[in-house]
């Protein structure tokens, strides 16, 4: 537990100790650890004097927060209406098959987390998937494997 102490303290110190600081603090923790570790939430609860149950309530309400560790790469498939009518769900199913996980989960080797988003706002170029910060436009089932390979390759190179 001590390993979180100083880090969380420095993250919380950046913000005020008011209630409105909660979401920005959670965002910083999420950015640091790629998820919200339980110990970190306990520390935030103590430092902001907000009951832990409230913090968990907020953390589970918003899509951007995760209570479980995420993979090194996040694959986000857009399921906005425009992507939907152009075949987004089929693309998502292909990602599920190729990664062998269901949406919302992380691969066993902790390399990929598969997620969906309601709209990236790039409807003109749908179906869209975003891996980390890279956008892939007008994808179809056949493009899924080559996209994943790019990130798998990075792993073997390192």
């Amino acid at each position: 537990m001590y390993s979180y102490n100083s880090k969380i303290e420095s993250l919380t110190k950046k913000h005020s100790s008011e209630r409105k600081a909660l979401i920005p603090i959670l965002r910083d923790i999420q950015a640091e650890y790629n998820y919200l570790p339980q110990e970190a939430l306990i520390l935030v609860s103590e430092s902001l004097d907000i009951p832990l149950i409230d913090i968990v309530g907020v953390a589970t309400f918003y899509r951007a927060f995760s209570l479980e560790p995420r993979g090194k790469h996040t694959v986000t498939v857009c399921l906005g209406t425009a992507c939907h009518v152009r075949g987004g769900p089929k693309v998502l199913e292909e990602f599920e098959r190729k990664l062998n996980i269901m949406t919302g989960h992380t691969t066993e080797d902790k390399e990929f987390t598969l997620e969906t988003v309601n709209c990236f706002g790039c409807c003109a170029i749908g179906p869209v998937a975003v891996v980390d910060k890279d956008y892939y436009a007008q994808i179809n089932i056949r493009k899924v494997d080559p996209i994943l390979k790019k990130y798998r390759k990075k792993k073997t190179k390192q």
Partner: protein, 618 residues
């Protein structure tokens, strides 16, 4: 550090003259569309290629480039416009840049390969202003995206930016400003269409408060709508200017922009814009030397659709779960931290400086009786010219879809257009001549919403569309009201059963839809039934085909279709064999392939892979 802060109107005039003198040159301008859509298609590399080539050829004094926000014509990204002539080149790659510089910018030669070709007439167009996509539009709000580098406040000043602010601060009282907005007839562009001037008035008149807030709702959550992202990304200062004017009129000293985290470029640009506005003294204490303080804070949304609802948005800024609360009291009476709060969306704020500059009368001449001005729609889905279109209110769906949008691709037939996001509905081809305004859309069973317009063709199943929205809504319902939490889920179950050929009770579905509408507290629940009710109203026979005949006429619903190989068309090329994840297709080269139905999971991989239309869906 040089003091940039503008102390008074004289300073501002001086600065503007300086910028004007600096910009006066005979340089050729290459304007590159570099919004999120453009970047997803490689526009940044095109920008870099231009920079490199200009440097290499040492022609910095002749050619200037400007990377701007979205130009609206997303279908043909990355695109550029070369001024002064206004030559439009589309779908560029970095390797095309050298030729463009040497041929067009330096030698005035048009390169045929990069010109836009109209998909219907096959005609080529050289100039941006001649392209059918732009002709019927009236881009009074979004048009300035072309003229400004969003990260440079001087560009905005050069086109008359912050003139509206200096004018109202020096010439108008807050009451007069509200009167102008009222007279303009501007209505909220976020969904409900409340009259903006009256909202401001209510907030200004809210008593017993020493402090007021204005908020820009940039939590554009409707799937298929991205006009707000484009404005915030492409011209953030016009939104800021609108907010500052609004704050002055209402008597607010603090503003918030609540923006989606899924829009990183918009967040980046508006952050830069706020910093620059502070440096110049458009934000901060004693703005332009007047007795008026105002500043803006960015608050990021963490991905919850319901936070577009104003009371949920307020809860989110306060650091709580984004659950809506009962209204009244309305936010204009009791909003952020219990203080009167005026919330408008991006497009609404962006209209304000225009109205101040050109007058209420000018604005109210555009549009229809009840709906004034223009509206930006995102025209997406099964349409040739995908993009953002800004049109006067009252234009018909047909004009947007066929004249501007260029119709449906692949010779397919138009089936429906979905407006208003998950709160809206699907309108059939019988309503193509419907003039678009707030009232007509509501009457037809949809809503204006924030302006998403998703075109669907004969290959779109309306039961599947209803199922899609119900799935969206049951996922996004905050869970506070039972009717919405359980109702959206139950409606989804019924429609899901129908789509799987398990039958269903349409009367029960309609009854449930009405209950969810009547018994839910916030806008999400009250409109959650629209996708179901509108598809039932216009496409009931499609539901019945699923229930009675166990058929999906559009051949979308997986459980009701099967893939087959057309024996006459199959050439035995083996292209479909490798992509099949189930190894369901077997065959040898140049011999007819066979598909094992017991293994097929209907993923559609073979359908996409086949180049001879030999995979058929029945």
């Amino acid at each position: 550090m040089i003091e940039k802060k503008i102390q008074n109107l004289k300073d501002l005039a001086k600065l503007k003259n300086k910028i004007k003198r600096r910009n006066m040159s005979n340089k050729i301008h290459v304007v590159i569309s570099n919004g999120t859509c453009g970047q997803a298609r490689g526009s940044e590399k095109v920008v870099q290629a231009f920079q490199k080539e200009i440097e290499k050829q040492q022609i910095q004094d002749k050619v200037k480039i400007r990377a701007t926000g979205c130009h609206g014509f997303c279908e043909v990204e990355p695109n550029i416009i070369i001024y002064p002539e206004g030559i439009f080149y589309q779908k560029l790659r970095p390797k095309d840049v050298k030729e463009i510089i040497s041929q067009t910018t330096l030698n005035n030669k048009i390169i045929d390969d990069f010109l836009y070709i109209d998909p219907n007439s096959g005609k080529k167009f050289i100039y941006e202003k001649e392209i059918p996509f732009y002709i019927k539009q009236q881009r009074i709000v979004s048009g300035n995206n072309i003229n400004v580098d969003p990260t440079n406040i001087d560009d905005y000043l050069a086109i008359g930016g912050y003139e509206a602010l200096s004018k109202v601060l020096s010439e108008k009282t807050p009451e007069e400003i509200i009167e102008i907005v009222k007279n303009s007839g501007l209505r909220g562009r976020g969904g409900a269409g409340f009259l903006t001037g009256y909202k401001w008035q209510l907030c200004r008149n809210a008593v017993n408060s020493d402090f007021k807030f204005v908020i820009c709702n940039a939590d554009e959550g409707d799937p298929g709508a991205y006009m707000d992202r484009s404005l915030l990304e492409g011209n953030p200062h016009c939104v800021l200017e609108g907010m500052i004017i609004g704050a002055y009129a209402i008597g607010a000293n603090q503003g918030y922009i609540y923006v989606r985290d899924e829009y990183p470029l918009a967040v980046e640009h508006v952050t830069i814009a706020i910093e620059q506005a502070r440096e110049y003294g458009f934000l901060g204490k004693n703005i332009l030397g007047f007795d008026f303080d105002f500043d803006i804070i960015i608050s990021k949304g963490e991905g919850a659709f319901v936070c577009g609802e104003e009371t949920a948005l307020i809860a989110s800024i306060e650091g709580r779960r984004g659950e809506p609360r009962q209204r009244p009291p309305y936010p204009v009476q009791k909003g952020l931290w219990g203080k009167p709060t005026n919330i408008n969306n991006i497009e609404t704020w962006a209209n304000v400086p225009l109205i101040m500059n050109k007058g209420a009368e000018w604005f109210s001449k555009i549009g229809t009786n009840g709906s004034k001005g223009t509206k930006i729609f995102s025209l997406v889905g099964k349409i040739n010219n995908t993009g953002l279109v800004e049109v006067p209110m009252g234009i018909t769906l047909r004009e947007i879809i066929y004249d501007i949008g260029g119709g449906i691709p692949g010779g397919k037939e138009f089936k429906a257009v979905q407006t208003g996001g998950p709160s809206g509905g699907c309108l059939p081809k019988e309503l193509l001549d419907l003039p678009i305004d707030y009232e007509s859309l509501t009457e037809a069973g949809s809503i204006m919403g924030s302006g998403g317009m998703i075109v669907m063709d004969e290959d779109t199943c309306m039961v599947d569309v209803a199922k899609y929205f119900l799935n969206f809504l049951r996922d996004e319902s905050c869970g506070k009201c039972l009717s919405c939490r359980e109702g959206t889920h139950r409606m989804w179950e019924i429609v899901n059963d129908i789509s799987e050929g398990k039958g269903g009770d349409l009367e029960l579905l309609e009854q449930l839809a009405r209950i969810v509408k009547d018994a839910s507290m916030c806008g999400l629940g009250q409109t959650a039934s629209n996708p179901v009710l509108s598809t039932l109203r216009y496409f009931r026979e499609e539901y019945e085909a699923h229930i009675k005949d166990k058929k999906c006429p559009a051949r979308v619903c997986k459980e009701l279709i099967q893939y087959f190989i057309d024996e006459e068309k199959c050439t035995g090329c083996m292209a479909c064999i490798k992509p099949c994840p189930q190894e369901a297709i077997t065959g040898e080269l140049k011999k007819l392939h066979t598909l094992d139905q017991s293994k097929c999971i209907k993923c559609g991989a073979c359908y996409e892979a086949c180049r001879f239309d030999a995979i058929i869906i029945k």
